[in-house]
């Protein structure tokens, strides 16, 4: 689908929030973009990588968010406007460098786009509120509400960052990033992609005392000045009637506006665009003549707590509602906002939400669910299937972040826990150190490069028996949309490079290594059996390209993937439990024909991996010959 992010000045187009951020960066003249993909922020780098060459800025997918942030910072120090985008957990990884760089500052604008994921649409671990990072690091943070503001605020973020020589957060939540909206495009500023790093000990020497304290004081001053200069630009009051006021930010503003219309209220709304530093003055002015304030913000009560503190001085009788009616848990939408407002404002919109939900639940109750499954032809399915054959159900399966996380579901149930990027090795190591259980750690190629190597070297250093590490190498960062990683042999700008081979890395880190083709059950099982007998750090690299990628590449070349068919029902049924129930490829379907159960391979779904043929009784599944 061709993007519209490079359309002309003044044109109105429909963009995803994340695409609007990408356009904003281009309009701001960004010269360097470095990211590690993480949804819900992924479309920012996806959009930017697709146009980097054309526009003329440098783009890279870095090996992790910390490296990406450092890369962008280096460029900003050398005078080139830079951007990095990451999801909330990415910020946890990058934070080790993000926090100190607030003290050192930057030269050219440096924007850190960070997206939180309430509800965990694309996140396994937690509903983290990254606004705390702004406060912790004394780093300014601004928050857009819709795609138009995503564009405008990105540009403004570069200006603020450059003016105060500080990195700045552009923070969204899922629905700001992932919603579409009409956006009017602005002028694209001429970009600068070449810079020069000037040595400056007065700025960079934090070891010399009392520089640290001097830098810290300077940072506090900068933050005060940002509040003075930008509070009224970024925080806006939408006037209304009555003694009740609403304070909100981000996408919640979009819900509040519409919810009030539906409820027939015209209340004044204060929209907070400058999340850090929060402005005493702006909030004081808004709350001083109100009887009640309703704070609507996704996740933690950060605005609410601030309002409560301020109100003690300016309006001690003020009643503040927030998390007493709106949840800390989950994401907001119209149906979560409206009942809360109905309660406080004592008016109903005329739709009985509870009754409607009850009626819907009634019709939904006997529907077959659509559970998350591996794609047809997925190499992970084949690897899990083989590992279960060799290691059974009682082995401890330490999980990690990637498509293979779906192995937590039936039929495999082979991820006993999933914590963070690269954690499978450390967690597996800890368990294997104190128990006699067999431990297998699963990790993907991109995740291995991101945060797995340190875990592996620690196994060599400290664990004589060690878990078996299985690297599920599909040659791409699949889950976030097929971004290249160090093993892919291609950069974020499409340049060919030598792929880093995981087997070479693992060997040099001290592990016994086997490599097997993910689509070859015999090879997998043989390698697994060999490694099972050994002790010490062991790595199986199960290599099989993401089938979705293979399919796309083949389609481009005009080559069709083979399709398989069940040619002998009776033979197939001899091992049906294994193939249909355990292997569970969505292309293999069970149908009822004239009262008889028959199994078929849906030719529209089969992506030709051939593994079902390998595990079925000989002669029951064959490649379809008439497929042209």
């Amino acid at each position: 689908m061709p993007t519209e992010i490079l359309e002309k000045l003044g044109k109105k187009v429909v963009l995803l929030g994340n695409e609007a951020i990408a356009r904003g960066a281009i309009e701001a003249g960004v010269g360097m973009v470095a990211c590690y993909p993480g949804t819900p922020s992924s479309e920012v780098p996806i959009a930017l990588s697709s146009v980097a060459k054309k526009v003329g800025f440098y783009f890279e997918y870095s090996s992790n968010e910390k490296v990406a942030f450092e890369t962008a910072t280096g460029a900003a120090w050398a005078g080139v406007r830079s951007l990095t985008a990451m999801k909330h957990y990415g910020l946890n990884v990058a934070s080790d460098s993000v926090l100190p760089i607030a003290y050192l500052g930057v030269k050219a604008g440096l924007v850190i786009m960070v997206s939180d994921d309430p509800q965990g649409w694309s996140s396994i671990q937690s509903e983290q509120d990254s606004r705390y990072f702004a406060k912790m690091g004394k780093i300014p943070m601004i928050e857009p509400t819709n795609p138009q503001e995503c564009l405008d605020y990105t540009k403004l973020a570069f200006d603020i960052s450059e003016e105060f020589e500080l990195p700045i957060f552009l923070r969204t939540t899922t629905k700001t990033s992932h919603s579409i909206g009409t956006v009017k495009l602005g002028k694209i500023r001429k970009l600068k992609n070449k810079g020069f790093f000037k040595k400056d000990p007065a700025r960079f020497n934090t070891i010399k005392r009392p520089n640290l304290q001097i830098f810290h004081r300077k940072l506090i001053k900068k933050i005060e000045n940002i509040e003075k200069k930008y509070s009224n630009k970024l925080n806006k009051v939408f006037p209304g009637n009555g003694e009740i006021g609403i304070i909100t930010s981000g996408v919640s503003f979009e819900y509040v506006k519409e919810a009030l219309q539906m409820l027939g209220f015209d209340l004044p709304i204060a929209k907070i665009g400058l999340t850090f530093p929060l402005s005493d003055k702006f909030i004081s002015d808004f709350i001083k003549d109100k009887k009640k304030i309703i704070v609507v913000e996704e996740l933690e009560p950060i605005l609410e707590d601030f309002v409560k503190i301020i109100s003690k001085d300016v309006n001690p009788k003020l009643i503040v509602h927030g998390k007493d009616v709106f949840s800390v848990v989950g994401e907001y939408n119209l149906e979560t906002i409206i009942p809360g407002l109905e309660k406080i404002l004592n008016r109903k919109i005329g739709i009985d939400f509870d009754k409607h939900k009850k009626n819907v639940d009634e019709v939904l109750k006997d529907l077959p669910p659509r559970k998350p499954v591996f794609c047809p032809g997925c190499p992970h399915r084949s690897t899990f299937y083989a590992v279960e054959k060799v290691f059974g159900k009682n082995t401890v399966y330490s999980g990690d972040i990637g498509c293979y996380a779906l192995g937590i579901f039936e039929p495999f149930k082979m991820q006993d826990f999933i914590v963070s990027m690269g954690s499978s090795l450390g967690l597996g190591h800890g368990i294997s150190k104190v128990s006699d259980q067999d431990v297998v750690a699963f990790i993907g190629d991109s995740t291995f490069f991101h945060a797995g190597m340190a875990g592996l070297v620690n196994l060599t250093f400290n664990n004589g028996k060690s878990p078996l590490v299985i690297v599920m190498d599909n040659s791409i960062t699949a889950m976030t949309g097929h971004q290249p990683n160090p093993g892919s042999g291609i950069t974020g700008m499409g340049e060919k490079v030598n792929p880093v081979k995981i087997e070479d890395v693992a060997k040099s880190l001290g592990a016994e290594v086997r490599v097997a083709n993910s689509f070859n059950q015999e090879q997998l099982i043989q390698s697994l059996n060999e490694l099972k007998k050994m002790k010490g750090p062991r790595v199986l690299v199960s290599k099989g390209e993401c089938r979705l990628l293979t399919k796309r590449l083949m389609h481009k070349r005009g080559v069709k993937l083979p399709v398989f068919e069940i040619t002998d029902q009776n033979r197939f049924k001899k091992n049906v439990d294994n193939v249909f129930d355990k292997f569970s490829c969505p292309a293999i379907i069970k149908e009822n024909e004239k009262g008889k159960t028959i199994y078929k391979i849906d030719p529209n779904m089969c992506w030709g991996c051939s593994v079902c043929m390998q595990i079925s009784p000989e002669g029951s599944i064959k490649p379809k010959r008439d497929d042209k």
């Binding site: 819709n146 579409i180 009409t182 939408n333 119209l334 149906e335 939904l364 659509r370």
Partner: protein, 200 residues
Amino acid sequence: MKFDLMLTGVGGEGVLTTGVIIARAANIEGYYVRGVQLHGLAQRGGTIPTFVRFGDEKEISSPGIMQANSDLILSFEPLEAVRATFYARKEKTTFIINNHPYIPIYANLDKIPYPDLKKILKKVKPFAKDIHVFDTNNLAKKEFSDVIFGNTILVGIAVGKGLLPLKEESVREAIKITVPRGVEKNLKAFDLGLKIGKSS
């Protein structure tokens, strides 16, 4: 003016692209557009409800439609029409359903059978002002030897019936800028849908 459209189907069916075509068509007509796709971890085979809202900027700000509030639900898969009832109500919502089931992989394992069309329609009826059922996948397979064009046929039907208030020309324009590779077949599919919509 405010029009709340929900599209729903199964991941990998092209629901997202169809949503973009409609959003771009509305933008071409000068409407303010807002929308969102609710997608989770599953790349393929999962439910993907998509919302496209267009009209007067003053009336629209939320990216998602409120429950019970869709004007039109285009369901690319019959079972998903039932799951969309949360966003539908009898006084307001019309359903157009593509009767081409996509059987969930675990339907058999869980011993919850995939309901037949009669049962599906019975479930949807209390939430629908009107229901129209077509098998656009089959039509697409016959006409274009690819089921994917069933989506554009369905959009054509919606416009042809006057249930999706967009001009034919703006949808054609949006198809051209959104799916340039398959533009000819998509335009033909759209026209086929229009014809069916106008005559049924």
